[in-house]
Symmetry: C2
């Protein structure tokens, strides 16, 4: 327990608002939103700052390698054409890695939020040792780094998505039941940034959710539901990830659907993923040949889709049941969280034609506000690459959110 | 859909950060935290601003009636004693009103967050018309206003708690099943502030949750569970209420416990409040004489408590069952939200000796992170007065959070 004097002393060192940091971030955000269409005068108008302040902020961002001049803007209300400004596509970039149960993916995103490289390897990780899994990650990261360097990019940071809960500091995998990881500090084992920065860790559904918000924190507030072997969710509030007190938010896969239900690797019974996880759907649909969820390199979600399209009754029944159970849980999440949109990601994206109507029906039946404003049920923009993309984006989002910290690193 | 040009024009008018607003808020917060112990020099040290800026901010806050000088500070590291500063207890104050199912309460809180007046009237509102309920509210508010005026306070705003969901704008009660209110715009019907400001509306659990955070947004992140006829929850993240996209967050009372369970006034079946609401506990305990939940002016939660203390088996079984069902739902909420603390409020405060152990057991069994960090299960600081107190606090919190807006109103 700190003494009152310590608390007071601490308060005294609380920094006041740093206007330069705030203004640099505002100016950079203006450039990002109006890429190639905005001049220094436009930045002044957009931020409410005076012309000379805006101009010197832009000079600083150009000097720091974040912004470049790209020609002339069209004539605007603000007066004659100016020099158009844009984020640098050859500046700092982020590396995202997704260690999932049945595949590993890497992705490189540049400062403009554009994907510059991606690679996915399907392989079931279960039954492989931690060292073996991390070696595979290393090989993929090396490939991504070579490609990025060849493309003139500076990979300044990396972030790694895992199918489990991660501590808030982003260093330790607290529990990843499907990988058999528990209290595993992987921060030293993962690929670092080009300048030695440690990789940031997070849950795969969190990073997948971030892929939907993009570079500019668009899309408002939503619950992103990621269907994998497990089922996870990422909560995005006003374009920012809500991670919870320990970094464990969104663990809907282990919400109890039925206390007397089938046992779960987490040690409990009747968890949502036993009904709506990838393997649960395969099992219920009677697709049992082959271990795991990839037949060679053929994703089994494709098999489910084909059988559903062909009208296979067992598959349709399995999807209806999974959708109903998932929808019931999501209606409860909406009663608690009240977000305006659900995003179906992971395998649910591909299976949405069969799952979404069931989810909508359950939400209409069980969300208390359904009579006034039904949440949109949408499918994710990205498929299996979403967690790796979101991880890579998280690196560049950090720079865009606080350019001063980047410039003075 | 606005055109790109409209969007651009809008962006141009986005105000830049207003340093004066931010600095006034910082300075006022410093005064509030160190009430009567801090001088102008201390404010400068605490905010990181220079002495003359800090001093002129304080002069502005004194001139605006928010801060007063109260003597001398003790000698500190910052040098010789200065004039001690404190929030004005005779400045603006807030009126909070709680229209609950079986009682109505009013509360006046001054700028320092201190309760200056409170009054609770037990009366079942069910079966009474809206006009009758609002007349009672009006009478109570008039009494509070007279008391506040006699005490030299300026009641600058009022806020009203209702047992239901309220739109985000705080004008319409979307649904209050236990009052029979639906889409009821009450903003013109409720007592206004002394200068005509409209009352702000919110859910009773939200305002009750705010009572726990206090004036200075203390207490971090928690889920406040309010046991009443219904069961509600308020989500507080870093000391601020999280209201959701429509203002409907925290509606845990209608989470489905059993789809085949007893019918609920909301139109669904097996909602949490059918198991853990006040009347459900009374029914399960076999306390059936008397309508509603107050026997005359004697709260029935007292009856439950007495019987539990006397070891009545039916009452103990009813509490164990209610606690187990409540705990199961709360464990699910923790898997989604990951907050570090649960606060048991409303009747759960009084019943905590029997409910809390069951809640803790269910959380340990069903919260995925329970093996690493179990959330604290605490009881609320305030009892039945919590929603009215939180409502009154919400008025003065607004002033403390943004004094410039108040000074230039």
């Amino acid at each position: 327990m700190p003494s009152a004097a310590t608390v007071r002393a601490k308060r005294r060192t609380t920094p006041a608002v740093n206007p330069r940091a705030t203004h640099l971030a505002l100016a950079l955000r203006c450039v990002a939103e109006q890429s190639g269409e905005i001049s220094r005068a436009g930045i002044a108008a957009g931020t409410g700052l005076n012309r000379s302040t805006a101009s010197s902020l832009i000079d600083e961002l150009i000097g720091g390698g974040l912004v470049r001049e790209v020609g002339s803007t069209a004539r605007t209300r603000a007066g004659r054409p100016g020099t158009a400004l844009a984020l640098r596509p050859d500046g700092p970039a982020g590396l995202g890695i997704d260690v999932n149960v049945d595949y590993t993916a890497v992705c490189v995103v540049d400062l403009t939020g554009k994907v510059r490289y991606k690679h996915v390897v399907a392989e079931d990780q279960r039954g492989h040792g931690t060292r073996e899994i991390l070696d595979r990650v290393d090989r993929l990261a090396r490939g991504a780094r070579q490609a990025a360097e060849a493309d003139g990019l500076d990979l300044v940071g990396s972030a790694v998505a895992v199918p489990g809960i991660v501590d808030r500091a982003g260093a330790t995998v607290t529990l990843a039941p499907n990988l058999g990881w528990r209290d595993l500090d992987v921060s030293d084992l993962l690929p670092a940034g080009a300048h030695g920065e440690r990789a940031a860790l997070d849950n795969e559904a969190n990073f997948a959710a971030l892929s939907e918000a993009g570079l500019l924190r668009a899309g408002g507030s939503y619950l992103y539901v990621s269907g994998q072997i497990g089922v996870g969710a990422g909560i995005v509030l006003d374009g920012e990830l809500y991670r919870g007190s320990h970094g464990w938010s969104g663990e809907i896969g282990h919400l109890t659907v039925d206390r007397n239900g089938p046992p779960c690797p987490c040690g409990r019974r009747g968890c949502l993923e036993r009904y709506a996880g990838h393997e649960a759907i395969l099992r219920a649909a009677g697709i049992t040949d082959g271990a795991g969820t990839t037949f060679g390199v053929r994703p089994t979600a494709d098999l489910i889709t084909e059988r559903a399209q062909a009208g296979d009754p067992a598959t349709l029944a399995a999807l209806a049941e999974a959708g109903a159970v998932l929808g019931g849980v999501l209606a409860g999440c909406l009663n608690l969280l009240d977000v305006g949109r659900l995003v179906l990601g992971g395998i649910y994206r591909q299976l949405a034609p069969w799952l979404a109507p069931e989810v909508e029906r359950e939400v209409a039946a069980h969300f208390l506000g359904a009579g006034w404003a039904s949440p949109e049920v949408t499918v994710s923009t990205y498929g299996a690459e979403a967690p790796a993309l979101g991880a890579a984006l998280s690196v560049v989002r950090t720079i865009v959110a606080d350019p001063l910290r980047w410039l003075t690193r």
